[in-house]
């Protein structure tokens, strides 16, 4: 029966043979459906898992590393932080509002399933250029979706990244990171233990939404007919999630759950098999007990539904009535759908008939693993040889003005003001600075987060690019006073069946791992998103890292970009090059060129730079890392935010616009001693006046720079952004 059926479900013949071998018989319909989704790339990490072992998390402050719903680190005094990052790329392309909204909902469940209250979200989002109406529609929709869900669910959004570049035109990236806080005794895991304990399904009712989302949306490539996939997208209900959060936190507080697991991709199949496998148990599941929203659903549909806002709690029989009372208080559904059993078999029944009986671990843990062929791209040497042709003389002021008008470098207030970023009275440094900083109320502890990606450099050199984003992220949190403490990564790549893509992936993993080791930062979790490919074109390799920084005590007055004043001095700290243009904003925006090889981070110096920034954050009013747009744009950003001009005289224009890594600016009162002797540090100028003055390389009125920078995104977005016309059906268009 299944020869063609397993292929329809996206399973290879070999994988099907493995299922037959595991079961020692052909799978029944519902079983095959469960394997097809649980063994999909999205759920099983089958192409990446081998390489992810490279990441280290064996540091004393790591409580839980990769493998749980979220990584957990120790902050001292009984406080734990849970963090996680995940992508919702494909759903957001199909339906931007709901795709982004359910991305937020999903990541929050990953956090509160650990016992932590979610306290903040960051979004790293990438689109094609805003000159195209479709990209405006996607960008506007994603931002609205994040705002609509995040604000209503009552978790502040503290920033993230926004980038616009051509490779994302047909494949936007939406990566969401969340942070939660808890006291140590609140920590819960997914491991279901205790024969006779009861599995209770909490939250929204189950419908047909999102069926096969993991295998269809997240594990295959796109073509122009993607609109037809719309029914697979789930619809989020932030109100239901808010009630679910409060109910679950009350359950933890009352110590009523043994284990808990959220329902994400592959729904009940995944939650039951993962929690049973983690506890080394079996589970009997009765689908007749699942609260349904639609009639006549089949067993496979109920098992695979990706209806949002659901959790599976494992509860001792004596606590069931108390759990149901908490659910009743918060007006959420609760149904006893299963019982833990000895052995390791997941048995599913419906209408009194057994529809599946499989080893839980075979679904959740023992899926296929591939070591796909990898090959260095044949054109890489040519790309490296194609260094940018730099002009002899450059009007730096004019170039800066062009760069400030680029939506990827401009003011992001249009985005961040749509997000509630002030809830919980914890936000000390809000979105729009290098890293965002929040406090743990009632303590002296501060947590900073920065999310960073750099697809252009990662395309030119995945290994160096990956190292650079880790170091940039570390410097961003350091600029708030928080030392780098733990990292999560979201690895967005094209089709892993192409050897060049696999090579990019392996190089990236090595780069992230090496940089984290140099910084002594554990990698506590991550997500891999493959098949970011539309019509055969892969995105640039886009690892996005989310760095958590930690400080205790927090600086009394952390650096901000708006605290520079007339007469203060500008200092540049870190090694200079004047030659690092490959993948720079200047090359992209002004020269329209992508080629050459970016410079590498030097770990020892990079570490020293991060350490100095962390120290200086307690002493100086302004710290700002030098990144996109180089020194000139970094100076302009301080001027704009502080409302004061500056004069900077450099010997060459290249020093003003190149993007050599591991550098930052400090603005200090005149005559201050920065106490830096082990790495380069020099005074480059003074604040004052109403011009941003680059000496012989031009000068720019502060008012002009400010207006251009503020208007860049609004002027592109604040007009009609109607739905793009539906793409016509292509004759003979076929999916691979």
């Amino acid at each position: 029966m299944s020869e063609s059926r397993h292929r329809q479900l996206g399973m290879t013949d070999d994988e099907y043979a493995s299922v037959v071998a595991v079961l020692d018989r052909p799978p029944a319909d519902a079983e095959l459906a469960m394997y097809s989704v649980m063994w999909s790339e999205h759920c099983s990490y089958k192409s990446s898992r081998h390489w992810l072992d490279r990441f280290r998390s064996d540091y004393p402050w790591v409580v839980l590393g990769p493998g749980e719903n979220a990584g957990v680190v120790d902050l001292g005094d009984g406080w734990l932080a849970a963090l996680r990052i995940e992508s919702h790329n494909h759903p957001s392309f199909v339906e931007p509002y709901q795709g982004a909204a359910t991305g937020v909902g999903g990541i929050l469940r990953d956090i509160f399933t650990m016992g932590a209250r979610p306290v903040a979200v960051w979004d790293s989002i990438r689109f094609g250029p805003l000159t195209d109406s479709k990209n405006r529609y996607l960008f506007g929709g994603v931002v609205s979706g994040i705002a609509g869900y995040g604000n209503a669910v009552g978790v502040p959004t503290l920033g993230g990244e926004v980038e616009f570049a051509e490779p994302f035109s047909n494949n936007p990236l939406v990566n969401v990171m969340a942070l939660g806080l808890m006291k140590r005794d609140q920590l819960v895991t997914r491991a279901a233990v205790g024969v006779g304990n009861v599995a209770i399904l909490l939250g929204a009712s189950t419908g047909r939404d999102g069926i096969g989302g993991a295998s269809i949306l997240a594990s295959t490539s796109f073509d122009e007919d993607s609109g037809a996939k719309r029914p697979s997208v789930q619809v989020g209900d932030p109100f239901e999630e808010k009630k679910l959060i409060e109910a679950c936190l009350e359950l933890y507080e009352k110590d009523l759950v043994v284990a808990i697991q959220d329902l994400g991709a592959a729904g009940i199949s995944c939650a039951t098999s993962e929690s049973a496998a983690a506890g080394g148990m079996g589970m009997d599941v009765d689908l007749d007990r699942v609260h349904l929203r639609e009639t006549a659903m089949t067993a496979a549909e109920i098992l695979l539904s990706e209806s949002q806002e659901r959790m599976l709690a494992i509860v001792e029989p004596g606590d069931v009535s108390d759990v149901l009372a908490v659910a009743e208080k918060w007006e959420i559904n609760a149904s006893e759908i299963g019982t833990l059993t000895e052995g390791e078999t997941l048995v599913v029944t419906m209408n009194g008939v057994q529809v599946a009986s499989v080893p839980a671990a075979s679904l959740a843990e023992n899926g296929p693993r591939y070591r796909r062929p990898a090959e260095r791209p044949a054109d890489l040497d040519a790309i490296w040889a194609d260094a940018p042709m730099l002009p002899g003389v450059v009007d730096v002021a004019a170039s800066v003005l062009r760069m400030l008008d680029d939506p990827a470098l401009a003011d992001r207030s249009w985005v961040s003001e749509q997000y509630d970023h002030m809830l919980f009275l914890q936000t000390i440094v809000e979105p729009g600075h290098d890293g965002s900083l929040l406090r743990i109320r009632g303590t002296t502890k501060g947590l900073a987060v920065s999310t960073d990606g750099d697809p252009l450099r990662c395309f030119l050199d995945p290994h160096r690019g990956a190292e650079r984003i880790v170091y940039e992220s570390a410097l961003n949190v350091a600029a708030t006073g928080a030392g780098p403490y733990a990292l999560v990564d979201n690895l967005n790549f094209g089709n892993p069946e192409k050897p060049e893509v696999m090579w990019q992936f392996i190089e990236t993993v090595e780069g992230v791992a090496a940089a984290c080791e140099s910084l002594a930062v554990p990698v506590v979790g991550g997500n891999v998103s493959f098949y970011n490919e539309t019509d055969g074109v892969d995105i640039h390799p886009t690892p996005v890292v989310g760095m958590l920084g930690f400080c205790d005590p927090m600086p009394a007055s952390p650096p901000r970009l708006d605290r520079a004043r007339h007469g203060m001095e500008l200092w540049l700290i870190g090694p200079e090059s004047g030659k690092d243009f490959a993948g720079s904003a200047y090359c992209r925006i002004v020269l329209d060129h992508l080629g050459g090889r970016p410079e590498a981070v030097t770990p020892d110096i990079g570490n020293a730079v991060v350490a100095h920034a962390t120290r200086l954050a307690y002493l100086v009013p302004v710290l700002h890392d030098v990144s996109a747009g180089g020194l000139a744009v970094a100076v302009a950003e301080i001027c704009i935010r502080s409302g004061v001009g500056a004069a900077v005289a450099e010997p060459t224009w290249e020093l003003l616009l190149d993007e050599a890594p591991s550098r930052f600016l400090a603005v200090v009162p005149p005559g201050a001693d920065l106490g830096i002797h082990d790495i380069p540090a020099r005074r480059i100028g003074v604040m004052g006046g109403d011009e941003i003055d680059f000496g012989s390389f031009g000068s720019l009125p502060l008012d002009d720079a400010t207006r251009v920078w503020r208007e860049a995104i609004p002027r592109r977005m604040d007009h009609i952004s109607s739905l793009p016309a539906k793409p016509g059906k292509r004759g003979g268009g076929q999916r691979r």
């Binding site: 705002a147 932030p238 808010k242 003001e417 997000y419 002030m422 809830l423």
Partner: protein
């Protein structure tokens, strides 16, 4: 001063406002929306958030929560009652304050600091402030655009019911933020007040502003029945 902070499903600012009230000497207690007993409350706060998901209309479903009958009884008896953001929306839906809220002019959620000028001190929310004071307080709403028909609006202004008005940096009334200049109002007795921006978010310099304290201090002073 026992202060009932009402928690609707979907409320999210209840802990924040309780934290600041506590720091001002009040004794806030979270009261779940299904409770019917507010005996002994010296004041009531309807906090911000998204009660009942803001489904149907903001505040529309919340006004039918069991606790609201008690809130109405207390309001009629002169107990200080304030609604912040979503709480303001609920008070208008409940008819305890005039008017209604529609979407922001730009059709986008707005979360940022705005300037508001004190227009009247005849209320539990503004009694400690001075007319003309300009406060920097965060706004955080999508449906924050206060509307009322012309006649009733004139009557509201006539009786000094407008407590706070959005102004620009030069101090001129500013309707460009979300479509209205009205940021806060009170009932005729002055004991029921609604404010769209969040005073509790402007309660410490470290958070960017402490200008909201004067409003919450007014509320605490009203609960303590201090002479104005």
């Amino acid at each position: 001063m026992r202060t009932a902070v009402i928690v609707f499903p979907g409320s999210n600012c209840e802990h924040d406002v309780a934290h600041v009230l506590r720091s001002l000497g009040a004794e806030p207690e979270l009261v779940f929306h299904r409770d019917r007993d507010l005996t002994g409350a010296d004041g009531i706060v309807l906090p911000g958030g998204f009660a009942h998901g803001d489904y149907l209309r903001t505040g529309a479903i919340a006004r039918f929560s069991p606790v609201m009958a008690e809130v109405e009884r207390h309001a009629a008896a002169g107990t200080p009652v304030i609604g912040i953001c979503n709480g303001f929306q609920i008070l208008t839906e409940a008819g305890l304050l005039p008017g209604a809220m529609v979407a922001n002019r730009g059709l986008r959620f707005i979360c940022r600091h705005v300037l508001v000028r004190v227009e009247s001190t005849d209320s539990v929310l503004t009694r400690n402030a001075d007319v003309g004071d300009v406060l920097r307080i965060p706004l955080n709403s999508y449906q924050g655009n206060f509307v009322l028909d012309t006649d009733r609006l004139a009557a509201l202004e006539e009786r000094g019911g407008v407590l706070l008005r959005y102004v620009d940096e030069k101090g001129h009334p500013d309707h460009t933020i979300n479509g209205t200049t009205i940021a806060g109002i009170a009932n005729a007795a002055g004991n029921v007040a609604g404010v769209m921006p969040h005073p509790e978010r402007a309660s410490e310099r470290l958070l960017g502003s402490s200008d909201g304290l004067v409003l919450l201090e007014s509320f605490v002073a009203s609960m303590a029945k201090l002479p104005a």
